[in-house]
């Protein structure tokens, strides 16, 4: 048995001339909750399509639960769950029929979990899926996916469009699944940093089809620091200093977000004429933001580091 839930090597996927995946090498160990973040178009959904065998890669290899993604058997698919962001389900079916069908197809089906997750949503078994709201459809889709108890569960922005209560219900269900079905792997892609902070064991940052970073979310935050410096005269060019991700000038102080820099960075700022400098940690949200802002697409006229609206 492969030790990796997902194992890709130099994976490339082109749409016409545009690379969606660019030599992506990614090894996710089995077990735990892995959160993917990335700007729009970073390649998250493309990666999932290749992994699930919906689309062949242009070059490179991709394996899921130790098997080649180009040749997935029904028996293997049974061990993999997938929730797409549109929550696509057959609109003409009634809720109870969908449940009946899924229950027949998945041998590890768990009725109690289905009821528990769906209990947070106002869904009647006799309703047609086409008549559900987006949030209700999401709830149904999640209930079905979690009740299948797959070895590997891939969730593509599952909480998009859910209200706060439904989001919390989903989060609790996901954590419970990760805990109860120990050893199972959840791969989860989201823009909700608060959810990631609560739930994720591992953080994977994708950017333009490449893997930029992977570690636990706390370790990631440990490596990012915000330095605030006051330059009495003209603000020097600090963007060229090592490890700088983001620079903002706010009133009289210059805010510099850096990666993997020790106290020596403060000394450099002082050498450039800073009157006072101090460093502080950043929360996950701002840390990821700075990391992604560094390589984010922007209009040509816009400088690399624009002040953010508070």
């Amino acid at each position: 048995m492969s030790d990796y839930a997902i194992d890709t090597k130099e994976l490339c996927l082109f749409y016409k001339d545009k690379p969606a995946l660019d030599n992506l090498t990614l090894r996710l160990p089995r077990g735990g909750i892995h959160a993917f973040v990335g700007a729009n178009g970073a390649g998250k959904s493309s990666l999932f399509r290749v992994l699930l065998g919906f689309e062949p890669a242009t070059t490179g290899s991709a394996r899921i639960l130790g098997h080649d993604c180009r040749r997935l058997t029904p028996a293997l698919r049974e061990r993999i769950g997938f929730v797409n962001e549109e929550h696509t389900l057959p609109a003409w079916m009634r809720v109870r029929d969908l449940k009946g069908m899924q229950r027949r197809q998945y041998p590890h089906w768990n009725d109690a979990r289905y009821d528990e997750v769906l209990g947070h949503f106002n869904v009647d078994p006799g309703q047609r899926i086409g008549g559900l709201s987006r949030g209700e459809r999401a709830g149904l889709n999640l209930a079905v996916a979690l009740a299948q108890r797959p070895e590997l569960l891939i969730l593509d922005e599952p909480t998009l469009g859910l209200d706060v209560v439904a989001k919390r219900a989903f989060l609790e269900a996901m954590l419970e699944v990760a805990q109860v079905d120990g050893g199972n792997t959840i791969v989860y892609c989201s823009h909700q940093m608060d959810e990631i902070e609560r739930a994720a064991d591992n953080l994977v940052i994708l950017e333009r089809g490449r893997m930029r970073y992977m570690s636990g979310p706390d370790d990631f935050c440990d490596r990012i620091r915000l330095w605030v410096a006051a330059f009495p005269a003209k603000v020097p060019e600090v963007r060229q200093l090592p490890g700088v991700l983001q620079v903002q000038v706010i009133d009289q102080s210059t805010h510099v977000v850096v990666f993997d820099q020790d106290e020596g960075f403060g000394t450099r700022l002082k050498l450039l004429g800073a009157q006072s400098v101090h460093a502080m940690p950043l929360g996950l949200d701002r840390a990821v933001n700075a990391f992604l802002a560094h390589g984010h697409a922007r209009p040509a006229a816009m400088p690399a580091a624009t002040p953010l609206a508070a």
């Binding site: 735990g32 940093m193 608060d194 902070e197 739930a199 935050c221 940690p281 996950l284 949200d285």
Partner: protein, 129 residues
């Protein structure tokens, strides 16, 4: 009751260790009190159980908590775990910070001292460290 907030510069594990230390220091948790299980606290806070386990492991290693086989974690008898020099350094730092915060508020010195004494009296139930 522990509270955590996301978006705080302190990681969640740190918020848990800080919170439990504060509960112990204030006497809300006394030696011998049991802690919630890893799973229970994770569920209560809607966070990853591994985060709770990490926080508990740190508190146990530092002597705040004590594991009893099969029974879970308990608040340990608290001893002073810092060197005299480190205590003195932290004390000095805290006083400096406090003085610079209140100096501009123009209260008479006695008012400030009385207020601090009143605050400290909340923690007086705690056995001397």
């Amino acid at each position: 009751m522990l509270q955590i907030v996301t978006g705080d510069p302190r990681p969640i594990a740190r918020q848990i260790t800080d919170g439990i230390k504060r509960h112990i220091a204030s006497g809300e948790l006394v030696p011998g009190d049991g802690l919630p299980s890893v799973r229970g606290l994770a569920q209560q806070l809607a966070i990853n159980p591994n985060t709770v386990a990490k926080a508990y492991a740190e508190l146990t290693a530092e002597g705040w908590l004590l594991a009893r086989a099969g029974l879970g974690l308990f608040v340990a008898e608290q001893r002073q775990r810092l060197s005299d020099a480190e205590r003195e350094r932290r004390f000095g730092e805290a006083v400096d910070r406090f003085v610079s915060d209140v100096i501009g508020l123009d209260y008479p010195q006695q008012t400030i001292l009385d207020r601090v004494a009143a605050e400290l009296s909340h923690y007086a139930t705690k056995k001397t460290a």
